[in-house]
C-alpha cells in the first residue's frame, strides 16, 4: 500500500474535522434544527389510554367480515388464502401457515378458550367474534422483544417498528392471543390492490394491528370502527365522558384471557 502511518493519520484527522464541520455548519445556519422534530398534527386524535369496545350483539357476520376486509385493505395485508392471481395459489396447509392476520373472526370457544359453558347460548355459539391485538396495558410481547421493535406508546398503543424488527419471533411466542403475524414469504404479490397510504412489507418481519395509529394521527377513527356501523366504539379509557366509558358503565363486558394479567384493552359485549 502506498500510504504510511503519517499520511493515514493526516487524512483520517482531516476527514474527522470535515465531519464535525458538517454538523457545525448546520448549527450556524439553523441552530437547534439538526435533530428531527416530531410535531403532532393539529387534528390528530389523542388519549391517555386507547380502548376498544366491540358490541357483538350489534355485529352480524357480514359486518364483521367487512370490518376485517376494511382493515386489511388499508394496511396492505396480503391474502395467501385467496391470492389475486390463480398462478399464486398455494396449497391450503401452506397458505394457513403464511397467513397474516390483523383483524379476523373466531368462534367463542377459540376467542375465549376455557370460558365456554357446556351449553353455550346458541346465538353466541354461532357468533363471529372479531379478534385482534388487545393492546394490553401489560404486554408480554413488549417485555420479550430484544430490540424494542415492539413498544408501548404513552397512550397505550402497542406499536410495531417493522424497520427495526430482526424477525426473531419472540413476540409471537410471547403473545397469548396469536395476534402477531410473521412475513414467511414476500407479501407484496399477495396484496390485492396496493393502498398508497400505508407501506407494504418485506420478508422476515413481524406485524400486527396498531389501532390504526396512522389514521388517529390524521384525526380519523380506526378503519374497522368506521366499517362496523356502530358495533365498535373506540375511545379514551381514562376519560369518564368518553363513549368507551359510557359503554363500560352500561354493559357487562368480557376480555380475552384477562386472568393472564395482560390487562387487554379490547372489551366485548356479548
Amino acid at each position: 500500500m502506498g500510504m504510511d502511518r503519517r499520511e493515514f493519520i493526516r487524512i483520517a484527522g482531516l476527514s474527522t474535522l470535515l465531519g464535525l464541520g458538517g454538523k457545525g455548519a448546520f448549527e450556524l445556519l439553523a441552530p437547534g434544527r439538526v435533530e428531527a422534530e416530531i410535531i403532532p398534527a393539529p387534528r390528530s386524535m389523542k388519549a391517555k389510554r386507547w380502548a376498544l369496545v366491540i358490541n357483538q350483539k350489534k355485529l352480524d357476520d357480514a359486518t364483521a367480515q367487512k370490518c376485517a376486509a376494511a382493515c386489511h385493505r388499508v394496511h396492505n395485508v396480503p391474502d395467501f388464502i385467496n391470492p389475486p392471481d390463480d398462478k399464486l395459489k398455494l396449497n391450503p396447509g401452506v397458505a394457513n401457515r403464511y397467513e397474516i392476520k390483523w383483524l379476523w373472526t373466531a368462534h367463542f370457544h377459540n376467542a375465549f378458550p376455557g370460558d365456554a359453558p357446556p351449553h353455550l347460548a346458541e346465538k353466541v355459539e354461532h357468533m363471529s367474534f372479531l379478534v385482534l391485538c388487545n393492546h394490553c396495558a401489560n404486554p408480554p410481547c413488549v417485555r420479550v422483544c430484544p430490540t424494542k421493535a415492539t413498544f408501548q406508546r404513552e397512550d397505550g398503543i402497542v406499536m410495531m417498528d417493522m424497520h427495526r424488527c430482526i424477525g426473531c419471533r419472540f413476540c409471537m411466542a410471547g403473545c397469548p392471543y396469536g395476534s402477531r403475524s410473521f412475513n414467511w414469504m414476500d407479501p407484496r404479490p399477495y396484496v390485492k390492490e396496493q393502498y398508497p397510504g400505508y407501506p407494504t412489507r418485506e420478508i422476515g418481519v413481524v406485524e400486527k394491528c396498531t389501532f390504526c395509529d396512522e389514521r388517529l394521527a390524521q384525526g380519523l377513527q380506526p378503519a374497522c370502527v368506521e366499517a362496523s356501523r356502530g358495533a365498535m366504539v373506540f375511545g379514551d379509557l381514562e376519560d369518564e365522558k368518553s363513549q368507551v366509558r359510557e359503554y363500560l358503565r352500561k354493559y357487562f363486558t368480557i376480555r380475552r384471557k384477562a386472568h393472564l394479567g395482560t390487562n387487554p384493552q379490547v372489551y366485548y359485549i356479548v
Binding site: N96, P113, V144, T147, I166, C168, F170, A173, I203, V205
Partner: protein, 385 residues
Amino acid sequence: MLEKALVGTKRYYGLLAILAGLFALGFLFYLKQLNVGLGITGMGRDVSWGLYISQFTYLVGVAASAVMVVLPYYLHNYKAFGRVTILGEFLAVAAVSMCVTFVLVDMGRPDRVFNVFKYPTPGSVMFWDIIVLNGYLVLNILIGWNVLECERHSIAPPKWVKFLSYVSIPWAVSIHTVTAFLYAGLPGRGYWLTAILAPRFLSSAFAAGPALLILLCLLVRKYSKFDPGKEQIQTLAKIVTYATLINVFFFFCEVFTVFYSQLPDHMAHFQYLFVGLDGKGQLVPLMWFSIVGMTLAALFLVNPKLRKNESTLAALCGLVIITTWLDKGLGLMTGGFVPNPMEQVVEYWPTMPEAIISLGVWAMGFLILTILYKIAVSIKEEIKS
C-alpha cells in the same frame, strides 16, 4: 498449535471434506432461505419456532455440560479429569458455535442482528441469552487454548486462566438457565410455564452432554494414540446415570402437577404430545419412545455390569442422546406451540430445506470439533512421546 490441524491422516482429511461438503450444501439452502424467506421451512403463524430454535436449545445443553468435567477437576481437585477437561471445553466451543449459528439462521432479518446491541433491552431474556452465550464461547476458547498450550510446554497455566475456569462453572449453569427462561416466563404457553423447566433443561443437558463426551472419548481412543482413560469414562458414565435419573424424575414431577391439578391449559400440550389432540398426533410414537427409552436407559445405567462394559455403555449413551434429543430437540418446541393460543391444533414437521440447513449447521459444528480435537489429541500424543 494451529499447525497441528493442518497435518493429518487421509481419514482426517476425508472427514473434514465430508463435513465441509455438508456445510456447503446447508449454506446453499440457506442462501435460498435468505432469498425466499423462512416460508421454505415448516414453521408458520401457529408453530413459529421449529427445528432451528430447538437445536439451539439442545446444543446450549451440550455446551453447558462441559461444567461436568471442569467442576470436579477445579473444585474437587479430581486429577483424573485433567486428561479430559480439554475435550469437554472444546466440545463446548463447537456446541456454542452451533447455537449462535442456529439463532442466526432462524432470524427473519439477520442483516439487522446488531440491532440487539444498538438498542440493548435488558428486559428481554433474549438479550441476556446472547450475552451469556457469547461470553461462554470466549471463556472456553481462552481456557481451553491456554491450558493446552501450557500443557504442551509443561508449565503451569497462569493464574488468570485458573480464575476464568472458576468463572466458567456458574457461567455454564447460567447459559442453560437463561435459555430456559426464554420459554418459562411466557404467560400463554402452558407447556413451558413451569418453574421446573430450567432444572429439566440442566438435567437433560448433564445427561446428554457427558453421554456425547463418552462417545467422543471412545472414538478418540480408537483413532488416536491418546487414551482419555478408563476411569475418566467410568466417572462420566456415573454422571450420565444420575443426570438421566434426575431428568426422568423431573419429567414426572411436571406430569404430576399438570395432571393432578387438571389445568386444561397445561394438560392440552401433554395430551397432544402423548395421545394426540383433535385426531392429530404425529409426535405420539416419538414421545413415547423418548420417555420410555430414557427411563430404560437410566435403569440400565444403574446396573454396574452394563455401565462398566464399554460396549453396552456406548449403546446406552447413544440411547440417552437420542431420547433427550426427541424430548428437547423436537417435542419441546412443537409441544409448546400446539395447541395454539386459540386452542387449534396445527402440527409442525420440518421441511427438507430446513432439515438440510440444520444438518449444515451440525456439520459446521462437527468441523470445528474435529479440528479442535485434532489439535488437542496431537498435543497430547506429543507430550506422551
